[in-house]
Symmetry: C2
């Protein structure tokens, strides 16, 4: 009525697929799947979608629909045209989950991108092997801690960093709440902390690196990243929930910057709580990896957050499974972990992980450097 | 043990407050409130937080804790130090909800920023009055529609835009799924659609404007915004869930760009579904306004999404209530609205709203221009 078939552009046929879990009865779930096909593409009254290329190629298509092992949860695999997603991460995320993020009972659990789409994504620059090489740690789990609490002066943070490095921690990051506060300004912090770690490295022969938090205003973030590198930072922490996934992708692809990047889950938790959102592995594993993270921080099971052991295994699996040639990355479980939990975590994850222990290091005893060495011993001893 | 009181920086005392709804028994909710105070600031074992300034000023503080009208839901007002939030939107969001986004049963429902903090935010450039002046519409609700379905060529989208403008629609936007696809490349689309609307304006004496979707890669978004303006776009649509809230703030503050900005809810829905996240009004109203949106799109009650009438009223209220001198903005309810729903919406919202009707305009009859005029008549007739 409004469009003529011959006027419509010919759309190439290649497709990518997204797997969703849909909550409800079989009939409800089927309706949800059909609705997703429309909502994520033409967003138009189905009866008015013109026949021809738009109907045949643009509309989402249910490739598979079946019950899961869980009562009241169905799995739908839906395909979309590669050309609809362009070569841009923002639009890919939009097609996978943009509008349906607003509809209840839909969880994105996985996605598969054909070579023609994934070749536009460089993914992690370092990955597991690159980060191991950089740090000179061929096999054991990496040791990762945070400078805290917020409110310390930069001189105190630098002193802490020196102690951590002396104790053999591989990566020393800012707590994610450290930004550019008047009581610990960014530039001074990076200068002092990087120098303190360098001093410790000279004394120990170690290769510890500093990973400042560069999450901040969009017009300053690239500048902060370059400044951090110039001042001796060895890696960057980015919170994609605060600055956008594509900002991390841009930083990871910058050949002049060329620093490892670890993603932090701040403001992303709402996606994984409840029956509407994005599954743990898809979000903290696969999307983080696609967006260039070399490691992904998330709260471990058994800590002060709520993730299940299964959810954490899902993340670790998505960090390392085959994914269009993108490098495997480190799962970085943290969040209130104690030294006592290390053996359990090693049993679940194996050796390719970064243990993020912050407050737990302080709790283990009065001598922080000794606590770090004890941490290292626990990890090496397994 | 690790810190000495005298070495700690003196922290200024000014604070901002965040209001949370906490789910559970009174005891559970109280524990959640106490946990938030630590998690959102020092993220450190409470017993090791040094006394003095960090304990007294950095730690979150429960200012109010009380039951709500709803069984099993408690309200906590928690204050944080202004200096912790810096002057940056990213860090403010981080302090308000960063890590606790990962903890279940916590909903951010409101926040209040003192003058010393909010003065760093310019907020909306146009707001309700500026947008009304630009469009020459002093009183009635604004008419808003979208170019769709995805898969049309740019020439067809331009023809649609021409028809919408002839029919008197005030703002004609890209469907949020239109990016820079090979079948409708961005630059050509903006050129053709802006020209088509200009032609219609010349014929009608109207002031319709084109609002392209500029959500895209972070290294291109500013460029796309400037290109859009140069090619005749009259406003910009941004999806903060895809590109980051601060990217919208940056675009809104750009004095050379100086275009109205409307936010789209793509990928943000997960925050408002369930008992963990950010309340509708706080997210789509208050945060969007703080981040510079002149209007905020969200799914209306009674459409194809799930928002309740109360949730929509909450959004509209937060768009217009007093907020540190920031301009009131337009609630833009959409999402499967029909022309028949207009009287109900007018009764709920009053006149300061933008009606976003997309597919509904096509469904109303075979002549699209007449449908637009009918839409306008309905809105003016009330």
């Amino acid at each position: 009525m409004f469009f003529t078939e011959e006027s419509l552009l010919k759309i190439p046929c290649e497709r990518f697929t997204v797997t969703y879990h849909l909550y409800g009865t079989a009939a409800d779930a089927r309706l949800k799947a059909e609705d997703i096909c429309v909502e994520q593409t033409v967003e138009f009254p189905a009866e008015l979608v013109p026949t021809g290329p738009i109907h045949d190629h643009i509309l989402g298509r249910i490739e598979c629909f079946e019950p899961t092992y869980e009562e009241g949860v169905y799995k739908a695999v839906i395909s979309y045209p590669v050309d609809g997603a362009t070569t841009e991460l923002t639009q890919l995320l939009n097609m996978m989950f943009g509008n349906i993020s607003i509809k209840p009972g839909i969880v994105l659990v996985d996605f598969n991108l054909p070579e023609s789409l994934i070749r536009h994504f460089k993914g992690p620059r370092f990955g597991v092997s690159g980060l191991r090489e950089l740090l000179g740690v061929p096999e054991r789990p990496l040791l990762f801690t945070a400078l805290k609490p917020m409110g310390l002066k930069n001189e105190e943070l630098a002193q802490l960093a020196y102690t951590f490095a002396k104790g053999g921690i591989d990566i020393i990051k800012d707590d994610h709440g450290l930004a550019d506060q008047p009581f610990c300004p960014f530039e001074e912090r990076v200068r002092l902390v990087a120098a303190a770690i360098e001093k410790a490295n000279m004394e120990t022969g170690g290769k510890s690196i500093y990973m400042p938090n560069i999450s901040g205003p969009c017009h300053l973030i690239h500048e902060r990243a370059k400044l951090a590198k110039a001042l001796g930072a060895g890696a960057l922490m980015v919170s994609p929930g605060l600055v956008g996934w594509d900002t991390m992708r841009m930083l990871a692809e910058d050949d002049e910057l060329a620093l490892p990047i670890i993603s932090h889950p701040a403001l992303l938790g709402s996606y994984v709580l409840g029956n509407s959102g994005i599954a743990h592995g898809a979000l903290f594993g696969k999307i983080a990896r696609l967006a260039g993270a070399d490691g992904s921080i998330y709260p471990n099971f058994g800590g002060r957050f709520s993730f299940s052991r299964e959810a954490c295994k899902d993340i670790a699996h998505k960090c390392s499974e085959s994914f269009g040639g993108l490098k495997p990355i480190f799962p970085c479980p943290g969040g209130g972990m104690s030294l006592e939990s290390i053996p359990t975590s090693l049993a679940v994850y194996g050796k390719n992980l970064m243990f993020l222990i912050g407050g737990g290091l302080f709790k283990a005893g009065p001598n922080l450097e000794e606590n770090c060495k004890y941490f290292k011993g626990l990890v090496e001893g397994e």
